[in-house]
């Protein structure tokens, strides 16, 4: 059947345009990364990946992501619950405020944290007097990473929880369930796919964050260098293969994340057709 705007010519043109754009802007760079990483053979790639500083960068990146996810999870669920289950003055404002990390440039976010918590910052002088160092150390990296990733879970949950409404939760309460039982047995099962999806997005962003982290980390090799920072450093040192090896690792993590997301979507659609 042919619909309006669906003539064979238009269709072919659109398909070709989509394919060309995808190839030029997405696929080609990805291929280039791996091509560069393996330009001098597998051995050199392996050597640069297992280099001590790079290994530490990998460890730091994954550790920060692992710490960020639970924080964002708790924050996101609490926020979504608050916004969708209660009415209170300032609810709309709060809903807008959630998006601040998306609206603010990560570099600006990093600078604000530096200003607040750095040695000469407002809170930083008190902190340094108590011998607590947040900036140019891993806690600072964690803080800015949480800042830039905290909206993802809440943004996934809010529309879903709004659409589902609170009827099932009310029903559970009338049947005698306590607050925790309602959350564990009714709310959580209903939002678990959106929750997982939020976690995947959070993870992708946490691993790849550059701007905010570069401001607060100080990029000390073997101490506060994350994978994205490592890429930049190695590249500036004219170590192209090393830079691209780290970049290839990041790309691999991204591809793995995408695969996980696609798998989830596939499972969710299968569940829907079955139910």
């Amino acid at each position: 059947m042919q619909r309006i705007g669906d003539s064979p010519g238009v269709r072919r043109l659109l398909i070709v345009a989509a394919l060309v754009l995808t190839a030029v802007f997405l696929l080609l760079p990805l291929v280039a990364i791996f091509a560069q990483a393996f330009a001098k053979g597998l051995g050199v790639f392996w050597a640069s990946v297992t280099e001590a500083h790079t290994l530490h960068a990998i460890f730091l990146t994954l550790a920060v992501a692992l710490l960020t996810i639970p924080i964002c999870l708790v924050f996101g669920v609490a926020l979504a619950w608050l916004i969708t289950r209660f009415t209170f003055p300032g609810r709309r404002l709060l809903q807008t405020l959630i998006d601040i990390p998306f609206a603010v440039s990560p570099v600006v976010a990093g600078l604000i944290y530096l200003l607040l918590y750095g040695r000469n910052g407002w809170l930083g002088s008190w902190l340094s007097a108590h011998d607590i160092q947040l900036m140019f150390a891993w806690p600072g990296i964690l803080m800015v990473t949480v800042f830039v990733t905290c909206p993802f879970v809440a943004r996934e949950l809010i529309p879903l929880m709004q659409a589902q409404g609170s009827r099932e939760e009310e029903a559970a309460v009338t049947l005698g369930a306590g607050g925790f039982a309602v959350f564990r047995r009714i709310t959580l099962p209903n939002i678990r796919w959106a929750l997982l999806y939020g976690v995947i997005l959070t993870n992708a962003r946490a691993v790849g964050e550059f701007g905010a982290v570069s401001v607060v980390s100080g990029a000390i090799r073997g101490q506060t260098n994350t994978l994205p920072l490592n890429v930049q450093q190695l590249y500036q040192d004219y170590n192209t293969v090393g830079a691209f090896s780290s970049a290839a690792l990041l790309a691999l993590i991204a591809l793995f994340t995408l695969a996980a997301k696609a798998g989830l979507e596939w499972r969710a659609s299968r569940r829907e057709t079955h139910a």
């Binding site: 099932e168 029903a171 559970a172 049947l175 005698g176």
Partner: protein, 365 residues
């Protein structure tokens, strides 16, 4: 368990949803809250359940909700021992029918929770009662509306509530299933003898199902009575109009005769503007006018389906068409068809001086 409400009102922000009301529901009674949408009936039901909190009373009488002798005004929903059936069932979509019904038992504190096998036995007894034991493993999305409604009833009854509250229980079902479930609920109510309150906007449903009906409009209770009394002796115009089809006759009374265009009707009323109300079955049709009654009408539609024939009548003197219900025998005798000119004779009419006044039904020849 009887239910008693004292001075229960509710505002949502500046909007008044419910004027302070008093209501007594006897043990074992099945009471219908009837009213148009926005009349406050669902709010009242949710306050009884504890899903909404009533306003704090502004007068000397405190706002109170009693279940039997137990003051539950400040008792949380989960401890009120109520069964609540939601308008769109609110079944747990990720749980099987069995798990839905077992939910209330499975969240009981460990001390009082029945054993696994006891829960199983109880759930299957309930599923048998609602005739769904063969669907225990299904998920809500795989059931029809009527089946979902029965699951939600079984789920509410599983915790052996003191009172059963139902919010528009049959609203989303088609007419035939609704009729069947209604009869079934009435039966169940008589068998188990719990106190139930249900909300509906369907007057037929309220009149058929309830021991007593609470008619509400605009956040107020208009009348509380048995279905018979309500239909025969409505206390005000709102109740009269809400409980069935109504024909209006508006005109000027002068010297005992109400005139409206070329229509005349002898009435025993003082001079002035009057509006008389008639039910469709109170309109008789004849080929000739009478001395004290001259109401010429033209038949515009005839619907011979059901126990009586419903006839739509129009006339120059009528702002809105009248409805008359005629016996099938009269239908044939009068040779009713579209375009036929006849005369209407009120068997009886009603008038309400104003919303608060007592009813004053009167008879015409």
């Amino acid at each position: 368990m009887s239910i008693r409400l004292d001075n229960i009102g509710k505002h949502f922000g500046p909007t008044r949803a419910l004027e302070p009301v008093n209501l007594d529901i006897h043990e074992g009674e099945l009471v219908g809250l009837l009213g148009p949408s926005g009349s406050g009936k669902t709010t009242l039901l949710r306050i009884i359940a504890g899903l909404e909190t009533p306003d704090r009373s502004g007068t000397h009488t405190p706002a109170r909700i009693l279940f039997g002798q137990r003051d539950v005004t400040h008792v949380h929903v989960r401890d009120r021992r109520i069964g609540f059936v939601f308008q769109h069932y609110a079944l747990f979509r990720h749980m099987s029918v069995y798990d839905n019904v077992a939910f209330g038992l499975s969240v009981m504190p460990r001390r009082s929770r029945p054993s696994r096998s006891d829960i199983r036995a109880r759930v299957f007894r309930l599923l048998e009662m609602v005739k769904l034991e063969h669907l225990a493993d299904r998920y809500p999305a795989q059931l029809s509306g009527g089946q979902q409604q029965r699951v939600s009833l079984a789920r509410a009854l599983a915790v052996e509530p003191d009172v059963l509250l139902l919010d528009e229980p049959f609203g989303a079902l088609d007419a035939k299933v609704r009729q069947e479930l209604r009869r079934w609920l009435r039966h169940l109510h008589e068998e188990l003898n719990f106190t139930s309150v249900f909300v509906t906007h369907d007057q037929e449903e309220a009149l058929e199902l309830s021991d007593r009906v609470v008619v509400m409009s605009d956040g107020k209770i208009e009348q509380i009575d048995t279905p018979e009394t309500l239909y025969r002796a409505p206390q005000n115009r709102f109740v009269f109009e809400f409980l069935g089809d109504v024909n209006h006759l508006e005109g000027d009374v002068h010297g005992g005769v109400l005139t409206c265009g070329d229509a005349r009707l002898a009435v025993d009323l003082p001079d002035g503007r009057e509006e008389l109300l008639l039910r469709p079955h109170e309109v008789r049709l004849a080929e000739q006018p009478q001395a004290d009654c001259h109401l010429p009408v033209t038949v515009t539609a005839v619907s011979p389906v059901g126990a009586e024939v419903r006839v739509e009548l129009e006339a120059d003197w009528l702002a809105k068409p009248w409805l008359a219900s005629v016996r099938h025998a009269d239908f044939e005798q009068l040779n009713l068809h579209r375009g036929r000119r006849l005369f209407a004779h009120p068997r009886q009419w009603h008038r309400f001086a104003d919303a608060a006044s007592a009813p004053a039904p009167s008879h015409a020849a």
